[in-house]
């Protein structure tokens, strides 16, 4: 089942008189339960790709269908709703609300769905338990380690049961041991049927994925499936 369909997506930025083509004619289909990595050096268009996939930004041209919805004609509020329903964001710098504890952070996206406090709490505890933080629910972000913070962020992404999990350099701020733990968690989530899209510049990370799209100068340079269980190095 096709979850994401990108057709001739372009994104141009005007920098003074120059037009920068951040994305130039992208065509991708993402299927349910894909485990996909976007790789590429900085300036290759990864971040723009992520913003467009995450409905934070709109393409200059082209069509983007997300879970059957054409995103093109939606206004800011409708995009917020789509983000809330369809997308679970996982950021490099975690992006947790500093004044809310782990539970509060995970409950936050549910507020925008008008779910009652009790139900919210239930769902949030379930998500935190899934990422192995059931004993840390009343900790503030600055009382948690980097790995734990990223787990809270993953729980926050999971709690809304989105159709895709969108991770932007999820291990960029973590040490190697924690990186392994988080990647294991991603592997498990994929095993449970989630669709994961990871944007990274680390081949180590990309190797966990089953499909790797390499970007260069705003275009797709290489789109290749990786054999399941294969651990061979890319490039």
């Amino acid at each position: 089942m096709v979850l994401i369909q990108l057709q001739d997506i372009t994104k141009y930025y005007e920098m003074g008189t120059q037009v920068v083509k951040a994305l130039d004619g992208i065509n991708i289909d993402v299927y349910k339960n894909d485990y996909l990595a976007f790789i590429g050096s900085s300036g290759s268009g990864k971040s723009t790709m992520l913003n467009i996939l995450g409905c934070l930004d709109k393409p200059t041209n082209g069509q983007y269908h997300l879970n059957g919805t054409n995103v093109e004609n939606l206004d800011q509020n409708q995009l917020s709703e789509i983000r809330n329903k369809e997308i679970g964001f996982i950021f490099q710098s975690f992006n947790l609300l500093p004044r809310a504890d782990a539970l509060g952070n995970v409950m936050q996206p549910l507020i925008y769905r008008n779910i009652s406090v009790r139900k919210r709490k239930e769902m949030a505890i379930e998500a935190l338990t899934r990422v192995g933080l059931s004993d840390r629910i009343d900790h503030l972000p600055n009382q948690l380690s980097g790995g734990q913070r990223q787990r809270v962020a993953i729980a926050r992404a999971l709690v809304t049961q989105p159709s895709i999990l969108l991770a932007d350099e999820p291990t960029g701020n973590l040490d190697s041991r924690t990186t392994t733990e988080i990647m294991q968690l991603f592997d498990e989530l994929h095993g449970e049927g989630h669709t994961l899209i990871i944007v990274t510049h680390e081949n180590e990370i990309a190797r966990h994925c089953h499909r790797i799209i390499e970007m260069k100068d705003g275009t797709i340079f290489n789109d290749s499936a990786v054999e399941k269980g294969s651990k061979e190095l890319i490039n």
Binding site: N51, G54, L56, D57, Q76, N77, S80, E81, R83, N84, K85, F89, F91, N95, L96, L97, P98, R99, Q108, P109, I111, Y112, R113, N114, R156, T160
Partner: protein
């Protein structure tokens, strides 16, 4: 909607209490503004309620006629007078009058003696009609009677304070006191009337009008005051016009000359007082308005800082699904709660201040806060909160999620 409101209030409160000192300093402008308005209102309202009570007890259908000399004429040595002839004229010619009495104030010493005790009091010569006009009755003994005036008897009716000041017995009737070198027999003790505007109304001595006239001798051309009560208070206008015409004719005033007397009602006096209080309230209200405005700008300023500080948070919230109104609501409610909290603290402070003022000044009526002033203070501070919260809240709500997320 209600749900979103509740959620926003919760997070707004959390954010207010997260920066306690800053929140307090932010609302200080509002606190001071509301506190001063409440303090002033509570004091003036206490005063006006008190004055209202006082005048109500004076009787609303009584009139006082006094001679009036403009200051310019006083400098020239001219004195207007009301004479016994004027009184007679009114008695004969005016209609709609229930009772009428002259009042002649002692123009020399107001000293009164009893044994070794000496006191000063307001000594007035009047008639039996005074008790109807002034609504003042005796608790012991009797009031002045008609025959007392005809025979210029040396008798007196005294107020409660006079009795106390002279250490007279509980029942002073039949005791003798000395006024202006003459002996007066006390025939009655008046009911206690309490204070009016800081002055005791029980510190009076009433003697027959004719007795007072003879006491003053003939060297002074008498200037009396006339007090009268109306048979129907609705006829106040007519009676006043009638009296004015009568007196102007009697005093031979030509049409371009001003009245040389004043006709006053208790109600008029009360209105004058209320006007002064109203003016004070309006002036203070203006000052407070400015102070609330400044307070509001302070809130806006801090809210703008807060929006900038929380740009990243706003970005996060937007990324995980917050719509414009969620963000708008949160910041607007935060501004509203800030100023409402300030309003509440100001209310308490203002009432405390008012009570303090009322208690420190002796004889001052106690402070009262009318409900409208509470509603006004909270309403206005809430209004200020919303007014000055809109700009920062709109700024927050309109942030682009990508820029906001990237903000360091």
């Amino acid at each position: 909607m209600l749900f979103a409101l509740f959620e926003s209030s919760r997070s707004a409160l959390a954010s207010i209490f997260a920066h306690r000192l800053r929140s307090f300093l932010t609302t200080l402008g509002i606190i001071i503004g509301v506190a001063s308005v409440i303090a002033v209102v509570s004091v003036t309202q206490g005063m006006s309620a008190f004055i209202g009570d006082t005048f109500a007890s004076l009787g609303t259908n009584s009139l006082t006629i006094q001679s009036y000399t403009p200051f310019e004429d006083q400098m020239k040595g001219i004195r207007s007078r009301l004479t016994p002839e004027d009184l007679e004229l009114i008695e004969r010619r005016a209609e709609g009058i229930a009772s009428i009495t002259p009042i002649l104030y002692a123009n020399r010493s107001s000293q009164i003696k009893y044994g070794s005790q000496t006191a000063f009091s307001q000594i007035m010569g009047t008639t039996y009609a005074y008790q109807d006009v002034a609504q003042s009755y005796t608790q012991l003994g009797r009031f002045l009677a008609q025959p007392d005036n005809l025979t210029r008897r040396r008798i007196a009716v005294i107020g409660e304070d006079v009795r106390e000041n002279l250490s007279l017995p509980e029942n002073p009737v039949n005791e003798y006191v000395e006024i202006g070198g003459e002996w007066f027999k006390i025939v009655g003790l008046l009911d206690s009337m309490g204070d009016a505007m800081g002055m005791s109304r029980d510190d009076i001595v009433l003697v027959p009008y004719t007795t007072m006239v003879s006491l003053q001798g003939n060297q002074a051309r008498t200037d009396i005051q006339i007090q009268l009560s109306l048979s129907d208070s609705a006829e106040l206008e007519e009676v006043t016009t009638q009296l004015t015409t009568l007196l102007r004719n009697a005093h031979n005033l030509s049409s371009d000359e001003d009245d040389d007397f004043r006709i006053q009602t208790a109600e008029q006096l009360m209105e004058e007082f209320n006007q002064i209080i109203g003016m004070v309230t309006v002036v203070i209200g203006g000052i407070v308005g400015i102070s609330l405005l400044v307070g509001g700008i302070g809130i806006m300023n801090i809210m703008l800082v807060s929006v900038t500080e929380r740009t990243r948070e706003i970005g996060i919230c937007k990324a995980i699904g917050a719509k414009r109104h969620h963000i708008l609501m949160q910041f607007l409610i935060e501004a509203l709660l800030l100023s409402l909290l300030g309003g509440l603290i100001g209310l308490a402070t203002g009432f405390g201040l008012g009570t303090l003022i009322a208690n420190t000044i002796p004889g001052f009526p106690s402070a009262t806060i009318p409900l409208w002033s509470i509603a006004l203070a909270l309403g206005f501070s809430g209004f200020v909160g919303v007014l000055f919260g809109i700009l920062p809240a709109a700024k927050a709500a309109n942030l682009d999620p990508i820029d906001a997320l990237r903000y360091e």
